[in-house]
Subunit: 508 residues, 2 copies
Amino acid sequence: SPRIGVSLVSVVSETGDLKKMTDNAVFSQNKVLTIDTMNPNVKNVEYAVRGPIVQRAVQIEKELREGMKKPFTEVIKANIGDAHAMGQQPITFFRQVLALCSYPELLKDNMFPEDAKSRARRILQACGGSSLGAYSASQGIDCVRQDVARYIERRDGGVPCDPDNVYLTSGASDGIVTMLKLLVCGEGASKTGVMISIPQYPLYSAALAELGAVQVNYYLNEEKCWSMDLSELERSLAEARKHCNPKVLCIINPGNPTGQVQSRQCIEDVIRFAAKEHLFLMADEVYQDNVYAEGCQFHSFKKVLFELGPQYSNTVELVSFHSTSKCYMGECGFRGGYMEVINMDPEVKAQLIKLVSVRLCPAVPGQALMDMVVNSPQPGEPSYTTFMKERTATLSLLAEKAKLTEEMLNTVPGITCNPVQGAMYSFPNISLPQKAIKEAKALGQAPDMFYCMKMLEETGICLVPGSGFGQKDGTYHFRMTILPPTDKLKLLLAKVKEFHQKFTRQYS
Amino acid sequence: SPRIGVSLVSVVSETGDLKKMTDNAVFSQNKVLTIDTMNPNVKNVEYAVRGPIVQRAVQIEKELREGMKKPFTEVIKANIGDAHAMGQQPITFFRQVLALCSYPELLKDNMFPEDAKSRARRILQACGGSSLGAYSASQGIDCVRQDVARYIERRDGGVPCDPDNVYLTSGASDGIVTMLKLLVCGEGASKTGVMISIPQYPLYSAALAELGAVQVNYYLNEEKCWSMDLSELERSLAEARKHCNPKVLCIINPGNPTGQVQSRQCIEDVIRFAAKEHLFLMADEVYQDNVYAEGCQFHSFKKVLFELGPQYSNTVELVSFHSTSKCYMGECGFRGGYMEVINMDPEVKAQLIKLVSVRLCPAVPGQALMDMVVNSPQPGEPSYTTFMKERTATLSLLAEKAKLTEEMLNTVPGITCNPVQGAMYSFPNISLPQKAIKEAKALGQAPDMFYCMKMLEETGICLVPGSGFGQKDGTYHFRMTILPPTDKLKLLLAKVKEFHQKFTRQYS
């Protein structure tokens, strides 16, 4: 299994609580629900982005508050793509509309621009009892899905989008899990295999573990800036067919944790491959506005699919995911998102609608926010200038920080970092001395977990070890976000450099 | 299986789309994801509250808008506990705080009361970057969990509550599904059995179908106002032990769809039963403020557990669910909720935290709303009087409508309705003529689905057939909410009466 990592229990033990847990294990023999009687699929789930290292970081923050002496005064978290937590400001227009929707009395006030008011009125009219507090349709509010459809059409140069194919979700994660739930079945050699990139965003491995599906790894090519190789897809698929039934291919573009932006040619190759090999495509496109590198451009899978002509656009099954959490919005806490399904069997669509209806609906404020993202201020509207200024400033700053991160990391001997073409992360390769690898293994830890944990304890910097995302055997990485404010990012990168050099000396 | 009902496909066929679907079935033989290749557990899911009858209601609304002639001019939906959609007004204080949190510029304004501002500041300070747009801890914002703990302590007369045992959720549904996910495992005779009341809220049967667990039915006693009988629990458990491993007992109190409020004695009996039989208790207590009948009172399972003394309070595993969607708030769209776990094994708690971390966090506006519910305006604060007036008005009106519904339904020959002691629903017993039952069965429909569908087509009233919740063989019911505005509720009840009489004549 590629899901190397330290289990929660062993990390808790590092923090000195092992004895307590052992006692409890004895005490809990009479419990109905124990580690031995619980769902074993859940036990197999791992999620590094919020895993043991982050829990330790939270603990250290508490220790600092309580006055414990450390070689640093604050924890800098670069473990998760949480833009607002790192100081990014929300888009004023979005928050004005949300305030108006939450407390419609404000519509009577003169302090809000007319376009914010008219957006709020439109959303409220589409809500039961004109309230964000009513359930929406399980697929999402009609007018929001219509706005999403028009947004997709504009984005894709006019390729048509039917609002009936759009499902609003609680962030992209919810949509991805829902689709996998529909797709995964079978036992033994007929069990569904799902192809995911390595490195991958661990939501995928976690969801597959929970569903008991077979995770089929294809490796991105680090030497070619984390690109996708057709030959590697072929190898991975052929290998998987020996022991399971691979029927889904997941792609993250722009890449998480790897920050690459796929070329149009690559996307075309992937689509032809999926068509030939009869695979269902899942395209995670939540970073679609986060493209920084010169010469790079975001191409949606849907657009390329339609440009390949009807023999592809009428047959290949594709679902694409988007969210309010990334891009220039960074509104993770609202859990807004949508997915568009293409060429889905109508009977399956009915089943999908039934499935989402059990959870009633995605949170309505998140739906409202998604609407603003796809229906943002237009030229001539009062909020347009401010909106564009804020949007551009955020994206330019991210582009600067992407460049800065790549450049500074590449000055460290033993660290090699591909260009951060897009998304919000760098995933540099780190050389670890044999002695450190040995010591980590003696502790039962992945070597890069050992490295990151040590960095956290010594510098207060919280990164996620590459083993939480998967990597080629014998290579080591970490993922760090480019989100901290520029000053703090520079400090962080300087500290990483210093730590890496010290660590290398210590174990050489 | 008690999940009788009409499949989506057959309902679509009633609306004339059968041919299209058959064509598609042929056409879709080449698809990766079809009704035959999809996850069979998902196919087994049914969810009546948003099922075929509601989809038909939405279609009829559209037909009315398009000018189609019907024997009625509007659809009255009494199928779902969606208070705001039925005209209930949100609590002013809650919405003020939400507006302030959404757009903190408003904190500078003089239009909001000081207590609303201080609540908003407290929540924002607890958010990353002081923004609702940051992810929260996966278990929920710390200060909100602390406020929840204090609320529970007040509610339960001082029984202690540890914030570490509180998990914020996306509505109660999310918590229930998460807990079942932890609990369900095994195959064949060792597969987990979950005891649920019949009638039940179909989230339970849907979640169990999705997880592939064994649904173990215990029947509520309709003759004794839908109470729980110990002997029936014993019968059900003994029966289940022949073919599965029953380890969970779910209770909904106040009852959905049945509207009963359990006596303290009954809760005590259930806890002793769970202790004796080694069952994990799940108490769905989302209607805890919705108690109307004289002599009835809400007793939380936790309070009664602790009153039974340490041999129970130190051993019985219990989880209780609450939500922002019901009571006097009715804020369904925000998907706020929490669960409190008692006596959960610490290793399992670590697994639970890991599991919820994969989905990152519940929507933060819903967490903020949950905070206001458990930390509402206090005597002496500027918003207190208005808050209490609004809260009391809403609950009194619901009490009136509960009484009205029961009384009017009981005037109809062939309809018998238990008192609506609490929650938001009546679940009357309806006598159906043999001829109607025969005709329904010939159409492959549950008789009460046939009845409700006919009522919808002839009167525009949307109710949910009892078969969607489960009921004793040979009995028929429907669930209707008491939520429509009084005038509309009276009209609805008059129409139900008229329809029932006509239907009875027609098929006698």
